[in-house]
C-alpha cells in the first residue's frame, strides 16, 4: 500500500511538473475563456433571479395587499346564511386533486346543508400547488379569480367554486387558461365587469398571505376541513361522514 501511495504521489509530482511547463500558455488561455463563460452564466443567473424577485406581482398594483370585501372576521370567504349554527371551513387549492375528490363526494351534501340553514361554508383558497403548473401559477390565478368574485359578486362564490372543480385541470399541467377561468365564471352567473377584473390580479398578494398564514397555523395539506373550528379527522372522500359530523355539531350546539 505504501508503495502504491508513493507511486501515486510520484505521478502527481510528474503531472505537477508538466503543468509548470505549460502553465504560461495553456492555463491562462483556459482560465480566461472558461472564466468568461462562468462569469457570463453567473451574471445571467443573477439577472434572472433578480427579475423573478422583482417580478412578483407586476400588474397587481405594485404588489400591494388588497383584502377582498365581504370576508368573515377570520378572513375566509363565506357561503350561506351567517346565522347557520355550524361552520364548515375548507382550506383548499384549486389544483389539488384531493380537493377535487372532496368536492365530488361532498359538494352536493354541502349544498343541502347550506340550503337547509344547518351549515355555512367558509373557503380559504391557498396557492401552494403553484409549483405543479409548469410555472403557470394556476393555483394563484384560480384563487385570485375566486377572491375577485367574493369581493364583487359574493352570491356567486359557491357556483363558481363548483365550476372550478367540475373543470379541474390535471395536476402538473399549466391549468386552465385565464380565458377558460373567465368563461367558467360567466357560466356560473358572474357579471361581465367582475370577470374582466380577474386580469388585474388584484388579490394575488392576499392569496399569498392566506397561503403563508395557513402554513403558519399548521395546515399540513389540502383539503383541510374544520367543523366549528375543530379539524375534521374523518373520511372526507365519501359522502356521509362529514354530513353526520355536521348534523351532530348542529344538535349539540357547539
Amino acid at each position: 500500500m505504501g508503495k502504491q501511495q508513493r507511486a501515486t504521489s510520484r505521478e502527481t509530482r510528474k503531472a505537477q511538473a508538466a503543468i509548470a511547463a505549460q502553465r504560461g500558455r495553456r492555463i491562462n488561455w483556459v482560465l480566461t475563456v472558461g472564466g468568461m463563460i462562468i462569469a457570463g452564466l453567473v451574471a445571467a443567473i443573477g439577472l434572472v433571479a433578480f427579475n423573478a424577485a422583482n417580478n412578483d406581482e407586476p400588474t397587481a398594483g405594485g404588489g400591494k395587499l388588497v383584502t377582498p370585501a365581504n370576508l368573515t372576521a377570520a378572513g375566509t370567504i363565506p357561503v350561506g346564511a351567517p346565522a347557520a349554527p355550524v361552520t364548515v371551513e375548507i382550506v383548499l387549492d384549486y389544483m389539488c386533486p384531493a380537493c377535487g375528490r372532496f368536492e365530488q363526494a361532498n359538494g352536493g351534501e354541502l349544498d343541502r346543508l347550506i340550503q337547509a340553514g344547518t351549515a355555512k361554508v367558509e373557503l380559504r383558497p391557498i396557492s401552494f400547488l403553484d409549483r405543479t403548473s409548469q410555472g403557470a401559477r394556476y393555483s394563484t390565478r384560480a384563487a385570485n379569480a375566486m377572491a375577485t368574485v367574493a369581493d364583487r359578486a359574493p352570491e356567486k362564490v359557491w357556483a363558481f367554486n363548483h365550476a372550478l372543480y367540475d373543470n379541474q385541470p390535471e395536476e402538473g399541467t399549466r391549468g386552465l387558461s385565464d380565458q377558460r377561468i373567465a368563461e367558467l365564471a360567466t357560466q356560473a352567473g358572474v357579471g361581465r365587469d367582475v370577470v374582466d377584473a380577474f386580469g388585474e390580479r388584484l388579490f394575488e398578494p392576499w392569496v399569498a398571505k392566506v397561503t403563508e398564514a395557513a402554513f403558519d397555523s399548521g395546515v399540513k395539506g389540502t383539503p383541510r376541513v374544520s367543523i366549528n373550528g375543530t379539524v375534521f379527522a374523518g373520511d372526507v372522500y365519501r359522502a356521509g361522514p362529514l354530513t353526520q359530523a355536521v348534523a351532530a355539531a348542529a344538535k349539540s350546539g357547539t
Binding site: 500500500m1 502504491q4 501511495q5 501515486t8 502527481t12 503531472a15 505537477q16 508538466a18 503543468i19 509548470a20 505549460q22 495553456r26 492555463i27 483556459v30 482560465l31 472558461g34 463563460i37 462562468i38 452564466l41 453567473v42 445571467a44 443567473i45 434572472v48 433571479a49 427579475n51 423573478a52 424577485a53 417580478n55 412578483d56 387549492d93 389539488c96 386533486p97 384531493a98 380537493c99 375528490r101 401552494f128 400547488l129 403553484d130 409549483r131 405543479t132 403548473s133 409548469q134 410555472g135 401559477r137 390535471e170 395536476e171 402538473g172 399541467t173 399549466r174 402554513f215 395546515v219 399540513k220 395539506g221 389540502t222 383539503p223 383541510r224 373520511d235 372522500y237
Partner: protein, 206 residues
C-alpha cells in the same frame, strides 16, 4: 499565490479529493433516492390515492408521482438509486482506503454510471418539460449524479482506465492537467442552475 495554486492543483488530482467528492456526492444521491423511494412506497400503499395534498410532498399530491415517467421500469425510479449508489459508496471508500481496482472494473463502472447519468438527465428533462413540478430531491439527484460521474471520469482518465487510443488518452490527460474538466463541470452545473432559475424563478424568488 503560485504556491497556493499548485497546492490546490495537487490536491485536486489526488485520490483523497477525488474519492472524497465521489463519496460525498453518492451519499447525497442515496439520501435523495431514499426520500423519493419512501414517498413512492407511501403512495403505492394507498392505491385509492386518498392522500390529501401534502404541503411537504416531495413531488406532488400523487398524479405526478404516478406518471409513467416516474416508473419507467415498472417500479419507482428512486429504487435504481437505492441499488446503484451503495456500490459507488463502496467503491469510493475502498479507493480512499488505497484499494486499486483492475482496469476492467473501473471501465465497467464508468460504462454503467454513464448509463445512469443518461437516465438521470432524461428524468431531469421530463420533470422540466413534461411533468412541470419543482422537485428539490430530484434536482439533488441530478446534481450528485453529475458530480459522481465527473469524479469517476476524472479518475479513469487520470489512470488510463478507459482503453482509449493513445493519442486521445494523452489529449484528455492533458486537458485534466489544464483543469479543463473543472471548468467544464462548473459551466455545466451553472447551465443547469440557469435552466432551473429560468423555469422556476417565479416560484423560487417570487
Amino acid at each position: 499565490m503560485t504556491g497556493l495554486l499548485s497546492t490546490m492543483q495537487r490536491v485536486r488530482h489526488a485520490n483523497a479529493w477525488i474519492f472524497g467528492t465521489m463519496l460525498f456526492s453518492s451519499v447525497l444521491s442515496l439520501i435523495a433516492s431514499f426520500v423519493l423511494a419512501v414517498d413512492a412506497v407511501k403512495l403505492a400503499a394507498d392505491p385509492a390515492a386518498e392522500l390529501s395534498c401534502d404541503i411537504n410532498a416531495v413531488i406532488s399530491c400523487g398524479t405526478v408521482a404516478a406518471a409513467w415517467q416516474s416508473q419507467l421500469l415498472g417500479f419507482p425510479n428512486a429504487f435504481l438509486g437505492l441499488i446503484a449508489e451503495p456500490v459507488v459508496i463502496t467503491l469510493a471508500v475502498a479507493c480512499l482506503g488505497g484499494v486499486r481496482f483492475p482496469r476492467w472494473f473501473m471501465f465497467a463502472a464508468q460504462v454503467v454510471y454513464t448509463i445512469g447519468l443518461g437516465f438521470a438527465y432524461w428524468l431531469f428533462y421530463q420533470s422540466m418539460f413534461h411533468i412541470g413540478a419543482l422537485c428539490p430531491w430530484c434536482l439533488l439527484v441530478t446534481l450528485s449524479t453529475t458530480l459522481v460521474f465527473a469524479t469517476l471520469t476524472h479518475v479513469n482518465i487520470r489512470d488510463g482506465n478507459l482503453f482509449l487510443p493513445a493519442r486521445l488518452q494523452e489529449t484528455l490527460a492533458g486537458a485534466l492537467r489544464a483543469n479543463l474538466d473543472l471548468i467544464v463541470v462548473v459551466i455545466w452545473l451553472l447551465t443547469l442552475t440557469l435552466a432551473v432559475v429560468v423555469k422556476y424563478g417565479d416560484l423560487l424568488f417570487g
